[in-house]
Subunit: 350 residues, 2 copies
Amino acid sequence: MFENKDNRTELSELGEFGLIDLIKKNVTIQNQSSLKGIGDDAAVIDSEGKRTVISTDMLMEGIHFDLSYVPLKHLGYKAVAVNLSDIYAMNAEPKQITVSIAISNRFSLEAVEELYSGIFLACKNYKVDLVGGDTTSSKSGLALSITAIGVANDNDLVYRNGAKESNLLVVSGDLGGAYMGLQILEREKQIFVESPKVQPELDGNDYILERQLKPEPRADVYQMLRDLNIKPTAMIDISDGLASEIFHLCSQSGLGIELFEEKIPIDPQTFERAMEFGIDPTVAALSGGEDYELLFAINMADYDKIKNNPLVTVIGHFTPKNNGYYLVAKDGSKHELKAQGWNAFLDKKD
Amino acid sequence: MFENKDNRTELSELGEFGLIDLIKKNVTIQNQSSLKGIGDDAAVIDSEGKRTVISTDMLMEGIHFDLSYVPLKHLGYKAVAVNLSDIYAMNAEPKQITVSIAISNRFSLEAVEELYSGIFLACKNYKVDLVGGDTTSSKSGLALSITAIGVANDNDLVYRNGAKESNLLVVSGDLGGAYMGLQILEREKQIFVESPKVQPELDGNDYILERQLKPEPRADVYQMLRDLNIKPTAMIDISDGLASEIFHLCSQSGLGIELFEEKIPIDPQTFERAMEFGIDPTVAALSGGEDYELLFAINMADYDKIKNNPLVTVIGHFTPKNNGYYLVAKDGSKHELKAQGWNAFLDKKD
């Protein structure tokens, strides 16, 4: 990263161009297709007749992250990760990102370096190039906007609307962890607010804290699907929670769903913490969100290729639309599934 | 636009998906290359072997705009316009945009509709498709982040670093108007703060107010250059002010410049208001910014093709680097040119 200084440097000393230069100096271009990166009006990408895929996300301080417990480096990493996750969810490969930040004078240069060190680490890990963006000031707080650009052959692209009746519903990894990690962080913040001298108790929560603070987009699942020659019929990534994402796949594909509670993959640590907090672990998986796993539909014929694969779990199957949306509970009872996605406007009041 | 209602609708009534649906309903896809727009994880663009060009900008309330005198519709229009301007400055044609907004509960749905009506108008006027984005909430104020995607043949692209010694420096339109428009708006705001009953005096300032509130990217100049078979050797758009942009072209091309004050195109209304405000009109042009004109270098051989063209003016010529950066004043005296671009961190304190 940038040079490590102990003293605080005001952003005003650098100015916008100085900051851009600093960012630029730390960028290494990794893809031949990144013809033009930072330093011109726009980035230029060689598409070679393939499809260019663009995804964008905006993260606001106080809404999407709380800097009292999210280190800036993790924030930068996560901001990139969630965008790359969107590109993989198209069955495409991310190649470039643009990063725009707005920051108030409350932040020092060192803070910005910390943020970008996370951004650069994600770029390195996923072989993605930072090719542009914008840096500006904000009246209060930090705002981040990231656009990811990916590439795919036309016939490899997977949309949300392609699932077919009796397709299997498959999810990667496990669910609910990011949400339980957030509960731990919020609890410790509350304790800190009330008794600043008490050390935070984060031990034994490593996995769920990492799920919340440093999610990884499922590049490995994307690659596995290619290696196994499986093309999902529909795919989405889990940002708002399993239930909400299932609703997107179903409504866009014009189908119903039968989801099996006992099949929903939940890590033991997620399960234990949920029980301690008095939260039903299934609810954490259905409505928690921020897991950034891939949720997709495959043809029955592909079942044998993945049935023992540790990366993924079959959790249900699609049904005709008029069968509706159902969760089959562990006791065999059927419950109507409700979408409880994250509502940005309701959850967080001014 | 959306239906016009007199009563206020809270965003929380719609939720994020409701808002996205509303936006989606108002989008009409205009380009065949927009294969996938709003409604999936990412936008898909058919590049047909051409170059995909991406540009992004972030606009923050209180920094880039003041809603006490900028109507939301104009803000939306301008936010798109400035991004398209970046694409034209690459000698490329904009085709798609993504729009991310963060809004506090202070804004009603009607306010968001107003903002998007300006965005859609710019899309319509410049035949650009809105293909994605993000909508979220903010703790305070409005933040807008727009990414524009354009296309060009590889050999048509123009960068900042291609100018050659004795190339001519050419600018479109006229300069300093947007800055003087801003002075008028700030003066009237001040009067309003002191005496709310006094009607704002905006008469006779139509041109410069429009330059500030509703700038137009120079699609016509892009087209004219193609029609005349002129490929600039270097190009940039004027967002920070003429001097700052000249510095970018010179430093990236490794050249010096001789700029002629008397050639700098300034509209009579800009000139008059500058004199009234005690501002040197040349300084308004050099340092004011936000004109969104195209500034470019051409070979001497192309001079005859544009010498009487009303869209552009030759304002100087490039020199060897060690000749430095000079402004030749109206009286023939030479002055070292200083870059005085907009400094986002210095100008606006928290």
